[in-house]
């Protein structure tokens, strides 16, 4: 597995998209800190950019990369290698390349302008989101035969997690606003990795106070050690389950 992973990483290190992604994030982050004198405001804007951009690009890049590599993947599947090792190696390589691009593009300016626990949480959740959406992208790509259809499903997944899921949560909260549903919202938020990441970062920026009772419930749960562990476990599961499903689907697939 590590042999395939090593050479895939060498290939990805010279990949224009991965380099362009790092550059884009670098320009956005540096631009935000240079234009906004208040670092907290810049961090809030950067959080929104990271939460939107990181999942989208990780999903789309992984899907397109998988289809571009398909003929070579078939050649690898003819070598004396278990298929599971090929998928695992590809997942580790792609997600590592994108996490490094993210850390380069966002991490370097963050360390220069606003080092601290908020920046650390933003980098950690951004990296976790990259791992999650690379796994989802790989799962989608392995299950589809048509590239355009796979990209379409990827975009629909992103729209669902970025917009539709939040709309649904808001609808639930407004509809049942006269009842104590906040404890129900916590597990519902954890079911969406983007929402989970948003809550974790917002709590660090201390914006929870603006959210009233819901914010207090979030603070009570996610602010505690157990809550942090549960969040980390949820994000880890969000990465591991789709990656395992992609591995299983590839092992059973007719190539």
């Amino acid at each position: 597995m590590w042999k395939v992973c090593k050479y895939t990483l060498i290939d990805l290190a010279r990949n224009r998209f991965a380099l362009g992604y790092a550059l884009l994030l670098l320009v956005i982050t540096v631009g935000l800190f240079m234009l906004e004198p208040d670092n907290t405001k810049a961090l809030i804007t950067l959080t929104q950019v990271v939460l939107a951009l990181t999942p989208l690009l990780a999903l789309v890049f992984t899907i397109i990369w998988y289809f571009n590599q398909y003929e070579f993947t078939v050649l690898l599947a003819v070598q004396p290698l278990p298929r599971a090792a090929i998928t695992r190696a590809q997942y580790i390589a792609v997600s590592t390349a994108l996490v490094l691009s993210f850390l380069l593009g966002v991490g370097l300016p963050l360390m220069a302008w606003a080092p601290g626990p908020v920046a650390f949480t933003l980098l950690l959740t951004g990296s976790a989101l990259t791992l999650v959406f690379c796994a989802l992208g790989l799962w989608i790509a392995v299950r589809q035969r048509d590239r355009a259809r796979a990209v379409g499903i990827g975009l629909a997944t992103w729209v669902t997690m970025m917009l539709l899921y939040d709309t649904l949560l808001l609808w639930i909260m407004f509809t049942f606003s006269d009842r104590p549903i906040e404890p129900l919202i916590i597990p519902l938020a954890a079911l969406n990795p983007i929402d989970l990441s948003r809550i974790l970062i917002m709590l660090r920026i201390d914006l929870a106070a603006l959210l009233g009772y819901t914010g207090a419930v979030y603070q009570q749960f996610f602010g505690s050690g157990g809550g942090m562990l549960a969040s980390a476990a949820a994000l880890l599961l969000w990465a591991l389950v789709p990656a395992a499903l992609a591995t299983r689907a590839f092992a059973r697939k007719d190539l």
Partner: protein
């Protein structure tokens, strides 16, 4: 002893059988040419042998090992696909090293003759993205032959190659045959089939219609060239004739 034994092989996609009731045996040191019209099941047959497609029924045994979940049997297989695609940003040398690492090949254990013969030695420091389709085909040929495989599977190997390189590749096929390899080639070029093939496997509608030496096909029809003999031979077959049933 047969190197490849195919018994009752069938593959179904949805309700459509791409391959049905295929029985065949291939020996060491023979070149088998798999031919047939488009959609006849040639590619599915080869993909089943390579373990790329999972059989719906029947099975294949390669050098005594069943084709299945254990990938170790593929250490003895060299494969040249019709379309050669590699990671675009790797150099040819890095690609060769990657395959060496995957195969755990130590220096000296691989066969580098084709690297020099096809001029791939001049491409070693070039990135794959800088290579033409023909050059990638040459690299693909080198990879297929490099680990002295017991079984060579070549899918339209000369497509996209210049005539000189195609000639050298076919010479390499004959050399591999002399050294005891079982060579399975799909081709639409009848001159190639006649020149190389010890046996012709003819597929149609997912069935193996016959396996015969090319000279017997020519003899049976009174034609000298296989391209003239084959249509005549197929026309005189009973419509339901299927070998092995």
């Amino acid at each position: 002893m047969d190197r490849i034994v195919i018994e009752g092989l069938g593959k179904r996609y949805g309700r459509q059988w791409a391959l049905r009731g295929v029985n065949a045996r291939f020996a060491p040191g023979e070149v088998v040419m798999v031919i047939g019209p488009n959609g006849s099941g040639k590619t599915t047959l080869i993909k089943c042998l390579l373990g790329l497609v999972h059989a719906t029924e029947g099975g294949i045994v390669v050098s005594g090992k069943p084709v299945g979940k254990d990938p170790s049997y593929r250490a003895g297989i060299g494969y040249m696909p019709q379309l050669a695609e590699f990671p675009r940003e790797l150099t040819v040398e890095q690609l060769l090293r990657m395959m060496n690492d995957i195969r755990d090949a130590r220096s000296g254990s691989s066969d580098d003759r084709l690297i020099n013969l096809l001029g791939v030695d001049a491409l070693l420091d070039k990135r794959i993205s800088a290579l033409s389709g023909g050059m990638r085909q040459k690299v693909s040929a080198v990879l297929a032959f490099r680990y002295r495989p017991e079984i060579l599977v070549l899918d339209e190997p000369t497509a996209g190659l210049d005539p000189v390189s195609a000639g050298k590749l076919l010479d390499a096929v004959m050399r591999a045959r002399r050294e005891g390899a079982t060579v399975i080639i799909t081709s639409h070029i009848m001159e190639e089939v006649q020149r190389l093939g010890d046996r012709v496997v003819y597929m149609e509608d997912g069935r193996l219609r016959f396996t015969l030496p090319p000279e017997l096909i020519a003899e049976a029809t009174g034609e000298k060239s296989l391209s003239a003999a084959l249509p005549k031979y197929i026309a005189q077959l009973p419509p339901q004739h299927v070998e092995g049933l």
